[in-house]
């Protein structure tokens, strides 16, 4: 009798349990150098998770985490395995192999499908980038090896200055203007923003990178059908009135197709 009951119970558990289980589809946003803390950004992550949950259905559960420091991100990834994420270009090129990252889509910060980095110094500073001394700061310089290749096409060890990641690029820029720092590397949104300030007239650009991919949406590990659904949802967000505020908080005007340049850059940086 007890044996029979156990068999029935096991059978019930085996039949019913899949209906109550749902697939985890957690994500991370890793943007080294960007402002805020993981805690501050959690409401935005929750909002994105809720939006995607509504779009992708109840068969998945979604939670999101934000990191703007590489160490914190690495610590999280050591214990957790998110299914996808949005990562900065430097992070993608530095970790694509190790984390098995596969591009899914691209972001559109300020509506642009490309980023451009500029090396900026004070107007009375050096005229050639090779003449810059000291430290060069920038939010994208937390992966110095990758950044050196993208910006200067030179191994980081051969540069006449050091590359330093900063979370306070504006302060670094003011410091450069006061003659206290070497130079600052600005991405396109930052460079555009600085044009609205009076300090813009005291700066000059020494070097401009080639057009670079924007932050990428990536899958961690192999692609599944759920990733395809995600890709479709992300692509439609720009046309969805309900996503307007969310996109503004994510600082992108929507999501585009995978940037083909990522593969070439990945090979080059490898």
């Amino acid at each position: 009798m007890l044996r029979n009951m156990l068999i029935v119970l096991l059978f019930l558990v085996a039949t019913v349990s899949p209906a109550f289980c749902s697939e985890s589809f957690d994500f991370v946003i890793i943007q080294p150098g960007q402002p805020g803390t993981s805690e501050d950004a959690q409401p935005v992550m929750d909002a994105l998770a809720t939006y995607l949950q509504n779009k992708l259905g109840a068969d998945v559960t979604i939670r999101g985490h934000y990191f703007n420091q590489i160490e914190q991100a690495s610590a999280y990834l050591a214990d957790n395995r998110p299914k996808w994420g949005i990562v900065g270009l430097g992070y993608y090129l530095g970790h694509a192999g190790a984390l098995c990252l596969t591009p899914l889509a691209s972001t559109r910060p300020g509506g642009a499908d490309s980023d451009v980095w500029r090396l900026v110094v004070a107007k009375d500073g050096p005229d050639k980038w090779q003449s810059v001394k000291g430290a060069v700061s920038g939010t994208m310089l937390f992966e110095p090896g990758v950044a050196a290749g993208l910006m200067f096409d030179t191994p980081v060890a051969e540069l006449p200055f050091t590359l330093e990641g900063t979370v306070r690029p504006l302060r670094a820029l003011r410091s450069v203007l006061r003659g206290k720092g070497g130079a600052v590397v600005l991405d396109k949104p930052q460079y555009d923003a600085v044009q609205s300030l009076s300090m813009a007239s005291g700066l000059k650009v020494l070097k401009t990178s080639a057009a670079l991919p924007t932050s990428a949406v990536v899958a961690f590990g192999p692609l599944g059908k759920i990733h395809e659904r995600l890709r479709a949802v992300l692509r439609e967000m720009r046309n969805d009135p309900a996503a307007v505020d969310l996109l503004q908080l994510l600082q992108t005007e929507g999501f585009g197709p995978v940037d083909k340049r990522l593969d070439a850059l990945k090979e080059k940086s490898a």
Binding site: G33, Q34, P35, G36, T37, D40, A41, P43, V44, P109, G110, T139, V167, R168, P169, L170, R171, K188, P189, Q190, D192, A193, V194, Q195, S196, L197, S198, D245, Q248, L249, Q251
Partner: protein, 893 residues
């Protein structure tokens, strides 16, 4: 039979004219003068477009009932284009404020101005208008800030307030997340005023007035959903005794708009709306009509002088026309007492048609005089021979106009009555006064001794010498043109009748293309709120309805949930002190430390904005930091300046206390019912009988007939009683088209009956109608090739063309019968007929240069129609008469 009656009548008339010509003239002048006087005294203009159709029509009755119940809500729309971003929107808002301030100075002209809704407009229940999420956010915010503010009020120290503001901004302790973009703008604005006050106070300049003004908060401007346009609605005072109804208010608004544009050169704005479009239409048509009249009077005068030789004969004809027109004014005053927007054009009709009778009389008189007849004999022959044709031709024209007298299109019916009667009066004058004047002038030898030369058209005689060949060529030409006939369509789009480049048209199109707004909306009426909500849900589900506007939009949703939240939030303010405390002196060092912390907090914020690429906000924070640095430098340089901050400290205590009290009032308000809504909203949506209107704004461009039809059909499925401008325009356009078609057919039938009565011959009818039929085929074919479609302005040409087309045929047949020798082109009749068509062509030809595209198209149809009618008369009819040897076989041409 009829012609015999004409002979008897005309003989009697001649006897009277020949005996007492002077009496006849003076009687006519007296009657015309009397008519003119009573017209000036009693005839009035009613430019109310709503009175152009019968008020007995069900759809019109419903429309007028709604107008009466809910009042006139036909607005002028100021469309302000907002550039992208917050700055663009702020500029548009400032533009609207400046314009509104200017217009508020003219309350007698601009009765209402709607462009924003402030929290204070909504009364104590203002917070219920927040969404549930916003209400939750507000509750949380009150939970955080309420105790802080209350706590601060207990000390009232300025440095402490600055510290608290720094704390709210992140305080430098934490990087913090990027603030909610929606809150950042207002927060920076408030902070900017606060910091500027500190700096100014330290500089010894202390402006008065509140630092934080709650009355200015929560203002919602009427932007379209896509945020691209800010739409202001103005209700003008109307004067239906003037042509353009809103001339005064329109001029005021345009002047204010022009001044405001000069003040904000970067902002684009324009004026539109149904009353503006109508006023602009009236202004352009008036200008066009005046120009056309001047051109046509000069050209007709020159043509008359050329053909009739000298100035006296043309002047006599024009004088008689003026007498006829004056009498028509008198008739209108005595019968209707009013002219409407359509019937006012009767004068143009009389110039086109009435003058033709005189042309026939004078041309025949000239012909007889050239042939050597004495004055009396020439006048008698002219009257006796041209009289029957003129009477018959005039009667056909009268048929065309009287055919619409029983139409439900009141405007057209009145035009029909006035136009038809005017033609009869012109006929009477041309058959009595003109012969009398010719007699008087001829007897006194006032006419030039030399005779006019250009009274015949021999070239057409030569052309019709071989009638078979001519008709074959014309048949080929007709066949070649024929495919064009099938290209002609009816265009209902009223916007395409307007002049190109008009600001009102441009902004109407912009509103249609670039927003979910429309100056045209339908109205459904509900008995109560329940029915209103049910109707609203049904209409919203329709694919053709873009959005709805009703009282329900202003009754907040989820009020009970919000009430619970607000009640909770109110508890955070329970400890609010009754009076501000005396805060005492300000410690300079404490203030410097507080300013330093605020500077760090702003610096952190600037970093976040910089990383996000938010240049606009970054520049505002940068400016704020500079002001803060300035204040810091002043106080650091002279710490005794801290005493200058004391008035500011007191003011801030008052402001914060007042703001929190206001918040307490809002949080304690009960949920809003219909009776609690502001008066202007109730006035807009609740009728005098308590019913409620639901405005239905179309999704598609309903200036296009197909879209209008679908929209009307759709909304009628939900509510068959639905009314409003789209329904009126849809029904009126259909009524107008049907009236024109009906009148065209009725005219043809009446003219045929008239011709039958006068001849009892089917062949005669067919021949009289031949020039008209062929001319119409040519006209329609040419219209097709020229891409000219019928529309609500030019379709009016068809009944007129029918009337004058038959007229030519009747005169030709009468002269052909009289001659019995086929030498038609040796007489003055072809020239008279050609002159009649030519005067019509010239009369309407001035409209070809009209800016109003509807009028220009009317000009084109009339000119082309008159031309084809004339050519058909001169080429086809004589050739056919010859070919079939109508009346007489001998042909000497």
């Amino acid at each position: 039979m009829i012609f015999r009656m004409f002979d008897i009548f005309l003989s009697g008339l001649w006897r009277v004219i020949s005996r007492v010509p002077r009496t006849i003239v003076w009687c006519a002048v007296a009657l015309a003068a009397l008519s003119a006087v009573i017209s000036v005294l009693f005839l009035r203009l009613d430019s109310d477009q709503d009175k152009l159709v019968s008020q007995d029509l069900p759809y019109q009755q419903r429309y007028l009932e709604v107008l009466k119940n809910f009042g006139d809500q036909e607005y002028l729309y100021i469309v302000i284009q907002a550039q992208a971003g917050d700055t663009g929107k702020r500029s548009a808002e400032r533009f609207a404020e400046a314009l509104a301030t200017r217009l508020k100075g003219f309350p007698e002209q601009i009765q209402e101005i709607h462009y924003r809704l402030a929290a204070q407009d909504l009364g104590p229940g203002a917070l219920y208008y927040a969404s549930l999420d916003e209400a939750k956010g507000l509750t949380e915010m009150v939970g955080t800030m309420g105790p802080l503010a209350t706590d601060w009020l207990r000390s009232g120290k300025l440095p402490e307030l600055v510290e608290r503001v720094s704390g709210l901004l992140g305080g430098g302790a934490s990087d913090g997340a990027l603030p909610d973009p929606a809150l950042l703008g207002p927060a920076l604005e408030g902070l900017d005023g606060f910091v500027a006050r500190i700096d100014q106070s330290l500089a010894g300049v202390a402006p008065t007035g509140p630092v934080f003004d709650m009355t200015d908060r929560g203002v919602h401007y009427f932007f379209t959903t896509n945020q691209r346009l800010l739409v202001m609605r103005l209700l003008p005072a109307k004067d239906y005794g003037t042509m353009d109804v809103i001339a005064g208010p329109l001029a005021t608004v345009r002047e204010a708009l022009s001044k405001t544009r000069a003040e904000f050169p970067g902002v684009e704005a324009g004026l539109t709306g149904r009353p503006v479009l109508q006023a602009d239409e009236m202004a352009t048509t008036n200008l066009d009509m005046m120009r056309a009249s001047i051109i046509s009077v000069i050209l007709v005068g020159l043509l008359f002088m050329l053909v009739m030789h000298g100035w006296l004969r043309p002047v006599l004809v024009i004088f008689c026309l003026v007498l006829g027109m004056a009498m028509t004014f008198g008739f209108t005053t005595a019968t209707l007492g009013v002219l409407n927007l359509l019937s006012i054009v009767f004068a143009l009709v009389l110039v086109g048609i009435g003058v033709d009778f005189g042309v026939h009389v004078v041309m025949r008189y000239v012909e007889e005089r050239k042939a050597g007849a004495e004055v009396d004999e020439a006048v008698r022959t002219s009257l006796m021979q041209t009289g029957p044709g003129i009477i018959l031709g005039a009667t056909t024209s009268v048929c065309a106009f009287y055919a619409v007298v029983w139409s439900d299109f009141t405007g057209l019916a009145e035009l029909g009555l006035i136009g038809g009667t005017g033609i009869l009066l012109c006929l009477a004058v041309m058959l009595t006064v003109l012969p009398a004047l010719l007699l008087m002038a001829g007897r006194r030898n006032l006419f030039p001794k030399s005779m006019p030369q250009a009274t015949v058209l021999p070239v057409f005689g030569r052309l019709s010498a071989r009638p078979g060949r001519l008709l074959a060529i014309l048949a080929l030409v007709t066949l070649a043109l024929l495919p064009g006939l099938f290209k002609v369509r009816f265009n209902y789009n009223l916007l395409e009748l307007q002049a190109k480049g008009l600001e009102s048209v441009r902004y109407e199109k912009r509103m249609i293309e670039d927003s979910d707004e429309s100056t045209w909306y339908a109205v459904s009426v509900a008995k109560d709120l329940e029915q209103l909500d049910a109707l609203r849900a049904q209409f919203k589900a329709l694919p053709t309805v873009g959005k709805t506007e009703s009282l329900s939009d202003y009754l907040p949703q989820n009020q009970q949930s919000k009430a619970a939240l607000f009640s909770k939030a109110a508890t955070y303010l329970e400890t609010l002190p009754l009076q501000p405390v005396v805060a005492g002196p300000i410690d300079a060092q404490q203030m410097l430390d507080a300013l330093d912390r605020l500077s760090v907090a702003l610096d952190n914020l600037a970093e976040k904005l910089f990383a996000a690429g938010a240049g606009e906000e970054l520049s505002r924070v940068d400016a704020l930091i500079k002001k803060l640095d300035s204040a810091y430098a002043r106080l650091e340089g002279d710490p005794t300046l801290a005493t200058r901050l004391l008035p500011l400290q007191s003011q801030l205590q008052t402001d914060v206390m007042g703001g929190l009290r206001q918040l307490q009032t809002w949080l304690g308000a009960k949920p809003i019912g219909v009776g609690d809504l502001p008066l202007f909203l109730r006035g807009m949506f609740v009728g005098r009988d308590g019913s409620m209107q639901l405005k239905l704004i179309p999704k598609q461009n309903i200036w296009k007939a197909a879209n209008l039809k679908t929209f009307v059909q759709d909304i009628r499925r939900v509510d068959p009683q639905v009314t409003g401008v789209p329904i009126s325009v849809f029904e009126s356009a259909r009524l107008m088209k049907h009236t024109f078609l009906y009148s065209a057919i009725l005219t043809l039938v009446l003219v045929s009956l008239l011709l039958w009565a006068s001849s009892r011959s089917l062949r005669y009818i067919l021949l009289a109608m031949l020039p008209l039929s062929v001319g119409m085929i040519w006209l329609l074919s040419l219209m097709g090739w020229f891409g000219l479609n019928f529309n609500l302005a030019n379709f009016f040409a068809i009944p007129i063309l029918i009337a004058i087309g038959v007229d030519g045929g009747v005169h030709f047949l009468a002269r052909w019968k009289e001659l019995r020798n086929g030498c038609l082109f040796e007489t003055s009749t072809p020239m008279a007929v050609a002159l009649s068509f030519a005067t019509t062509m010239i009369g309407f030809g001035g409209l070809l240069f009209a800016h109003h595209r509807g009028l220009a198209s009317l000009g084109w149809v009339m000119v082309l129609g008159s031309l084809t009618g004339m050519l058909s008369c001169l080429l086809v009819l004589p050739a056919v008469l010859k070919l079939f040897r109508y009346g007489e076989t001998s042909d000497k041409e």
